[in-house]
């Protein structure tokens, strides 16, 4: 388990992280969310031991993160970087070697990653000659070639076209299946929602919400009730639900925000009696909704 316990980090007078805590059980995929400047990258760097927290601690399997532990981690930073003049295959092998792999395993894994990423034609070419998308693929291979126990990816989908984004998603699912613990940050909420088991939303260097999507939704006070047709009779019934408020109407349907503990079965029964209802959806908040609301509340 990765445990981040009340870490704080300051750079001179700037406090990048005030108080962040979360626990990540082994083998799960964890989404670290927050606006730009929230402290995500600094938190990731503290997990990796690149930065030392001014307060608090980071532990993996109960022990402080040290050099030998870091060799079992993988990292894809937000700002991508490769040796421009080094050949693709050499680059992947170099990072494998840095993480303790030896021949012939290095060559086997390097070749496997090159094939998996579909960059065989570029294996012998310097990285600088590759397109941005292909460079990013090489970086994913560099971060993953040693099959890390913990893989941290900072904005892994940025700059990728939809085809390559899907390829990366598939690669991350494979790593997930092999038991790699993944920590990733992204502004692509739908991708995180599809991939992550647990989330933590931070802003201004502090935790604002954390848990599984179900837990985050359970803490959400309202649901959106979408009913069609949006007739006067239907709206009259919805107006009578305690705490309900009109949100919008569109394409013959009407949306109302209602308390999460509303008696939906009873409401449906009343609506059916009032009109010929053809649609009744109690819509759960999306991760995007939860994120936006959390950030707004923290502002």
């Amino acid at each position: 388990m990765l445990k981040v316990d009340h870490v704080r980090k300051e750079f001179g007078k700037v406090r990048a992280v005030s108080d962040v805590s979360f626990e990540i059980p082994k083998g799960i995929t964890f989404g670290l969310l927050g606006p730009n400047g929230a402290g995500k990258t600094t938190s990731m760097r503290m997990i990796l031991g690149i930065l030392v927290p001014d307060a608090g601690s980071v532990t993996w399997d109960g022990g402080a993160v040290d050099g030998s532990m870091r060799r079992r981690f993988g990292y894809l930073p937000e700002e991508r970087g490769l040796y421009g003049k080094m050949k693709v295959a050499d680059q992947i092998s170099f990072f494998g070697r840095l993480h303790g792999l030896v021949e012939p395993e290095i060559t086997r894994r390097t070749n496997a990653w090159i094939e998996r990423l579909g960059i065989g034609a570029y294996a012998g070419r310097p990285c600088a000659e590759l397109s941005k998308g292909n460079q990013q693929k090489v970086q994913v291979a560099c971060a993953s070639v040693h099959e890390p126990e913990l893989l941290i990816l900072d904005e892994p989908f940025s700059g990728l076209d939809p085809v390559n984004a899907d390829m990366l998603l598939a690669i991350l699912r494979d790593l997930q299946a092999k038991g790699t613990t993944l920590v990733l940050s992204s502004h692509q909420m739908w991708q995180l929602e599809a991939l992550c088991d647990r989330f933590c939303i931070i802003t201004r260097g502090e935790n604002r919400a954390s848990g599984s999507l179900a837990e985050l939704r359970a803490a959400w006070a309202t649901r959106v009730l979408r009913v069609a047709p949006g007739s006067d009779a239907v709206r009259a019934v919805l107006d009578r639900i305690p705490g309900a408020s009109f949100v919008a109407s569109d394409s013959g349907a009407v949306d109302y925000a209602v308390p999460a503990n509303t008696d939906f079965r009873g409401a449906l029964k009343t609506l059916v009696e009032a009109d010929a209802v053809v649609r009744f959806d109690a819509i759960e908040p999306s991760l995007h909704d939860i994120y936006i609301k959390t950030i707004e509340e923290a502002a």
Partner: protein, 408 residues
């Protein structure tokens, strides 16, 4: 240790395959040819200009001789008697040469005492005194005009290190060449370390590297591989020079002495002690400078800034080179001795002193201790700069901020 070895081997391969290194290798070899003739050009006249001379012997000879020499030298004293002087006699009078004159069967018997290892002073003195020799030799029946004009003074080297001026001149040339090697190898390779650090920082791969291995292993792996490549260069260059010497000793044996042939001299005058001192001082100098360059290189965000940030480090190295060149001619001057204990200057100046004089053991031990301490101190400072600088993006830090990082 694994981190260090991986970085070391990767850096080694990356750099040895790089075009700048290969070009530098070849340019170095070509430079050896150029340097072979440079010493005589640089030093010719430099040492003789303004040099003081003591003229000793019978007054009937010293008076016309002093008059003949006055055009090229400052006559600081005329002395009766032919007793050989000590070094202190020259230094006490601020004189570079002590010329004794006596009558002989073939004209004038001239002996020149000097504490300088390399100078064209004796040949100038011989030229100045040739008319006097002709004048005195006119009464000598056996003398021919050619013999009288071609005055051949006896030159005595006043030094505990060299038995004669030929040895001193040869060692001077060897030391000169090795100091040039030292300068080129230290400066060029330190700048290559800086470029490598800057490349990793500006390409943003640095963050990936320090996430995988310790910054210290990264820094030292880089510096060690650069040192190995520099030693490789050094071995090839010196080997080439020795080969030139072996070849030159045959083909140039009968050639006129228009100046020291570095190839010939290296072939015959390189001693194991000098090579050991060279290697040791190269390692110490390279570590001091390359670590400083690496630390400073980690602070820049654009490779275009390399020049501006390296300038403050290059200036003292160039100054050290110039001082060491001067030290070759005056290795026991107080200011030279003092600078041989100052880090950055010391590897160059101390080497010049080791080559040209007998450096007291205590001074040697102290100078090496100072250099080792400087490496440790610079290593700590560079390590701090590197650890923080590699993740520092945005506006380049000013001197105040750099100082804060060092103090943190």
């Amino acid at each position: 240790m694994n981190d260090f070895i991986v970085v070391y081997s990767a850096e080694f391969l990356r750099r040895i395959r790089s075009r700048p290194y290969q070009i530098g290798f070849i340019v170095g070899i070509l430079g050896i040819y150029a340097m072979a003739k440079l010493p005589s050009l640089m030093v010719g006249g430099m040492l003789s200009a303004g040099s003081g001379v003591v003229v000793a012997g019978a007054p009937s000879l010293t008076a016309p001789a002093a008059k003949a020499l006055a055009g090229d030298f400052k006559i600081v004293a005329t002395k009766p008697g032919l007793a050989p002087p000590a070094i202190a006699d020259l230094k006490g009078r601020d004189a570079a040469f002590w010329v004794t004159l006596a009558r002989s069967k073939s004209g004038l018997d001239v002996t020149i005492y000097s504490d300088k290892a390399k100078s064209d002073g004796p040949s100038t003195i011989a030229g100045d005194l040739a008319p006097l020799n002709v004048q005195l030799g006119a009464d000598v029946p056996a003398a021919t005009a050619a013999n009288l004009v071609d005055l051949k003074p006896r030159v005595v080297q006043l030094s505990t290190k060299f038995s004669n001026s030929k040895d001193a001149t040869a060692t001077w040339a060897v030391a000169y060449t090795l100091i040039m090697f030292l300068y080129v190898l230290i400066l060029v390779n330190s700048q290559l370390v800086m470029s490598s650090v800057a490349e990793e920082k500006t390409s943003r791969i640095a963050e990936l590297l320090v996430a995988s291995i310790s910054p210290v292993a990264l820094l030292y792996g880089k510096v060690a591989s650069a040192a190995t490549l520099a030693v490789l260069q050094m071995v090839v260059w010196i080997g080439f020079a020795i080969l030139l010497g072996i070849a030159g000793s045959g083909s140039h044996a009968a050639a006129a002495p228009s100046g020291p042939d570095i190839g010939v001299l290296l072939g015959g005058s390189l001693t194991l002690g000098l090579i050991a001192a060279f290697v040791a001082l190269f390692v110490l100098g390279f570590l001091q400078l390359s670590l400083l360059f690496a630390g400073m290189g980690s602070l820049i965000n654009r490779t275009e800034d390399l020049g501006s940030i390296s300038a403050p480090l290059i200036i003292p190295v160039v100054a050290a080179l110039l001082v060491s060149m001067a030290a070759l001619g005056n290795p026991d001057a107080t200011w030279v001795v003092a600078l041989s204990f100052v880090p950055i200057f010391s590897p160059f100046v101390l080497f010049a002193r080791i080559a040209m004089t007998d450096v007291p053991t205590l001074q040697l031990v102290l100078a090496f201790a100072v250099n080792v301490a400087a490496v440790i101190a610079i290593s700590a400072i560079a390590g701090k700069l590197y650890r923080i600088g590699m993740l520092l993006y945005g506006r380049a830090p000013n001197l105040k901020q750099v100082w804060q990082v060092i103090r943190s």
